[in-house]
């Protein structure tokens, strides 16, 4: 009897321990550092990676990418394929079966109506939705029943997984956003700052451009997750101090996007309390060349495309753009700014492997003489002070980027190279929160691009780069009409490119697609609409005690935050 009691007691204790080990919120607070602070929690209204990642903790798509590039169903019950009948044989429709056990964090059930609504929300042309290109060629989105969504395309879609897939295209709650359709999208602050989601955490407090506090979602579909009770996403500071906080002082658990001199990073990592974790995606540090005139005297027409009637006075000439690109020594840039976490590239789409073009590799060789010859040919002659002049205009450029030590180093080096060409360069660096923010009233956002050239990194979401390549079509031109949220910030418009984009949308064969994407990449690069500089790994740092992270570049790096926990 006594023996039995002891057994029961031990079993009971074990059971208790078991539950306490796998309890929601058992690991307290998780500190994330994003040196570019989050400015909005609605990814449809911001192209900024930090905003997309910050909202990915709360909002979930139907499916996410896994680190190997495959799909993991999130709000969908399974990934539709041709084999399981989810994708029509002729590739013109896809049917998503949704999980039926998901509720929003306010307790209402998640249904197909929310998915349909999200589609309407983003496809409304007045909303200025940044993920609009995820919804290209969609004819209709219908709810067949409460848990089935049927998307019909106007053309056969070989890769129908763009709408509602990945952190850039999550599902919004219909009840919450019903009044935020179209032009009202931007004005819905309460919604955009505190979206109701289905994810492992809910927004408790959001201070734009500062701190976001999240709390475990009590209604999350997996009873024992997330392991953390709260998440604090701190913004601001700079990349180096974020790295230090995780790697040297242990104040935070995770730091994002450590664009820091590799010498400094290696030394911090040697402290041994955290480690760097990186993954190569499609991130390319690039310089965008402005195709429109941004003279302040133009007033409202400053930097507007106006159907090509507002060309840039200097950079509209291809020879000039080529010369600027030729003067850059990309190897030195990689050595100084990235070390092992970067490689030189001449492509704007450098990955996945099958899409990487090899037609542009000449750019790897710096050629100052050739560049000078090109500028001479273009009619730019050196004036008395060494700066080139043509028709009374000085060759003077304003070169802007976000505030970051590595970026300012790049600016200094590139300025020096361009000065060798007789180009006068004015540098400007803008706080990352403002630069990548979406405030239509700020003159300093990368969307407005009121400078001659600007530098930043961007990448494709997911492994299929179609949506990414579509960023440079004429319809994506950033301007007043879309509150400067268009992805074509440099306002480059080539009908040939648009034709390739249309063709890509209708091409099914993977090899043909690869050829088209390479052709698009080559067109962008050879027209020097962009100057790719460095193919970057995405580098983050994690504390040694933080377990369960799976860093990846195809989707939000916080994609599996529900599985993160505190180890010993």
């Amino acid at each position: 009897m006594k023996f039995l009691r002891t057994i029961i007691l031990i079993v009971g204790l074990l059971a208790l321990m078991g539950t306490s080990l796998a309890q929601r919120g058992r690991d307290g607070n998780l500190d994330l550092l994003y040196w570019q602070a989050v400015s909005i929690l609605n990814p449809y209204l911001s192209g900024g990676t930090k905003d997309i990642y910050g909202s990915s903790i709360v909002l979930e798509p139907l499916a996410r990418y896994a680190p190997d590039g495959s799909f993991v169903p999130f709000l969908a019950a399974e990934i539709p394929t041709v084999e399981n009948g989810g994708i029509a044989e002729d590739l013109t429709s896809i049917t998503w079966k949704l999980r039926d056990d998901v509720v929003w964090s306010d307790g209402t059930p998640f249904t197909a109506a929310d998915v349909v609504f999200t589609g309407e929300y983003c496809m409304n042309d007045e909303a200025g939705c940044t993920a609009r290109n995820f919804f290209n060629d969609i004819e209709s989105i219908e709810a067949l029943d409460d848990h089935t969504v049927h998307i019909t395309f106007s053309v056969p879609k070989p890769f129908p997984y763009s709408a509602f897939v990945s952190a850039e295209s999550p599902i919004l709650q219909r009840a919450q956003f019903a009044d935020c359709i179209g032009v009202r999208a931007q004005a819905c602050s309460a919604q955009n700052f505190g979206p109701i989601g289905t994810g492992p955490f809910v927004v408790r407090d959001f201070r734009p451009n500062d701190v976001v506090t999240y709390e475990a979602n009590e209604l999350f579909r997996e009873a024992d997750k997330p392991a953390f009770q709260t998440v604090t996403l701190k913004g601001g500071g700079d990349a180096a101090s974020a790295a230090r906080a995780v790697l040297e002082t242990g104040e935070a658990d995770w730091a994002w996007n450590l664009q820091v001199d590799p010498v400094v990073l290696a030394q911090m990592e040697a402290a041994g309390i955290g480690q760097l974790t990186s993954s190569f995606g499609t991130s390319v540090e690039r310089i965008l060349v402005n195709f429109t005139n941004v003279d302040a005297s133009l007033g409202n027409d400053r930097g507007e495309y106006m159907d090509g009637n507002n060309p840039h006075p200097i950079l509209a000439d291809l020879r000039v753009r080529q010369a600027l690109s030729m003067a850059i020594d990309r190897e030195i840039l990689v050595e100084i700014g990235y070390g092992p976490t970067g490689t030189t590239t001449c492509n704007i789409i450098p990955a996945p492997e099958i899409y990487a073009s090899s037609a542009n590799d000449d750019c790897l060789m710096q050629d100052v003489e050739g560049a000078n010859a090109l500028l001479d040919e273009a009619g730019w002659e050196r004036g008395a002070d060494g700066v080139r002049v043509k028709d009374g205009r000085r060759f003077s450029l304003l070169y802007q980027t976000s505030t970051n030590a590595v970026r300012q180093d790049f600016q200094a080096l590139i300025k020096e190279w361009w000065e060798e060409l007789g180009v006068e360069v004015e540098l400007r660096n803008i706080d990352a929160g403002v630069f990548f923010g979406n405030d239509p009233s700020s003159p300093d956002t990368y969307g407005k691009f009121w400078a001659d050239v600007q530098m930043f990194t961007s990448s494709a979401a997911g492994t299929d780069v179609e949506a990414y390549a579509n960023r440079w079509t004429c319809g994506e031109i950033s301007g007043r009409q879309n509150q400067w949220l268009g992805n074509n910030q440099h306002r480059w418009c080539e009908s040939e490119y648009d034709a390739l984009s249309d063709q890509l949308a209708q091409t099914v064969d993977i090899d043909e697609r690869a050829e088209l994407i390479k052709a698009m990449n080559d067109m962008l690069v050879q027209d020097v609409a962009v100057m790719p500089l460095v193919h970057r790994a995405d580098v983050s740092a994690r504390a040694n005690s933080l377990m369960g992270t799976q860093k990846q570049s195809w989707d939000s790096e916080l994609w599996n935050i529900a599985d993160w926990y505190r180890g010993q």
Partner: protein, 312 residues
């Protein structure tokens, strides 16, 4: 004008006539030179100014020239301060940075002192203007400086840039912005002193002799409030140098390729473990400059204080 004419016959009765002022200058210098700290401060400050201004002629290395093969080097005979992570010469950078920082510091300080003194004097002297002016001061003190700076810079950057060119435009903007956001403390201190002074007998005497308000304010009261003004000036210059570096950090100051002491310090902090001298030099320059100005201010205050003057 008639005020001054009326006042002329009475000048011999006042303390500072022009001849007396000249004698006063010698007196002040005498007093100042007895203040060891002030003299050392002055020597240090003059040395820094001379080095910064004349340095580039003696050491003709271009501050912005990079050399990627000689990065993060320690001090050597060739490069006395070493190089930064792009191989730029740190001595040349510190010299160039000093010129910008000192220019910003001095100009912004002058703007802030002039503004602060005028507002403080007027507010203290004219009771009717006291309320409005002091509320204005409170208003400026209560304004969150950073958003204000953002707005000012956003509004005027492009205009100034197109009319004065990028470098001068930004210099003017920064100096003005720092100046007009840092005059409040001077104004308050000056007003307080003026309030006390204007009740004193010598002011009443000057008034009785027919001196105008302007004359009383600038010739009778001002010399007596010089000490707090000078202390404000020394603090203000230090503050301006620091504010400038904060602005540069936010991307609102000078472009990143214009070295200033604040920026050099900021850029160097990540390399503290690798090339520690990179932060030590600009830090030392800032500290020495600020300290020497403070000591000079201290000495000047003692020398200018009429109550201390003439004491042995």
């Amino acid at each position: 004008m008639s005020d001054i004419d009326l006042a002329r016959p009475t000048e011999s009765l006042q303390a500072p006539t022009s001849a007396a002022t000249r004698k006063g200058a010698a007196e002040i210098w005498h007093q100042f030179s007895r203040h060891t700290g002030a003299v050392i401060g002055m020597i240090v400050f003059v040395t820094i100014v001379a080095v910064v201004l004349l340095g580039p002629y003696v050491y003709p290395v271009k501050a912005s020239e990079t050399n990627v093969r000689a990065r993060n080097q320690g001090p050597s005979v060739e490069r006395p301060f070493g190089t930064d992570n792009l191989g730029r010469d740190l001595l040349a950078q510190n010299l160039a940075g000093g010129r910008v920082s000192l220019a910003v510091g001095v100009s912004a300080m002058l703007i802030s002192i002039v503004l602060g003194t005028i507002v403080g004097q007027v507010a203290g002297y004219f009771p009717r203007l006291d309320g409005p002016l002091m509320r204005l001061t409170d208003l400026f003190l209560a304004l969150p400086i950073l958003p204000l700076l953002l707005v000012i810079i956003m509004l005027f950057r492009d205009t100034l840039r197109s009319s004065f060119g990028p470098q001068t435009g930004i210099f003017l903007l920064i100096v003005t912005v720092i100046g007009i956001t840092s005059w409040m403390n001077t104004a308050r201190v000056v007003r307080g002193d003026v309030l006390a002074l204007k009740e004193r007998e010598f002011v009443t005497a000057a008034d009785a002799l027919g001196s105008g308000h302007g004359r009383i304010m600038w010739f009778h009261i001002l010399p007596n409030v010089m000490s707090p003004i000078l202390v404000s000036a020394s603090l203000g210059m230090a503050g301006a140098i620091i504010t400038e570096s904060a602005l540069s950090f936010l991307g609102l100051g000078f472009p990143s390729d214009v070295p200033t002491w604040g920026r050099l310090l900021f850029d160097g902090k990540d390399y503290l473990n690798i090339t520690p001298m990179r932060v030590v030099w600009p830090g030392l320059f800032i500290s020495l400059t600020v300290l020497s100005i403070n000591f000079m201010g201290d000495g000047l205050r003692d020398a200018l204080d009429p109550r201390l003057r003439g004491r042995e």
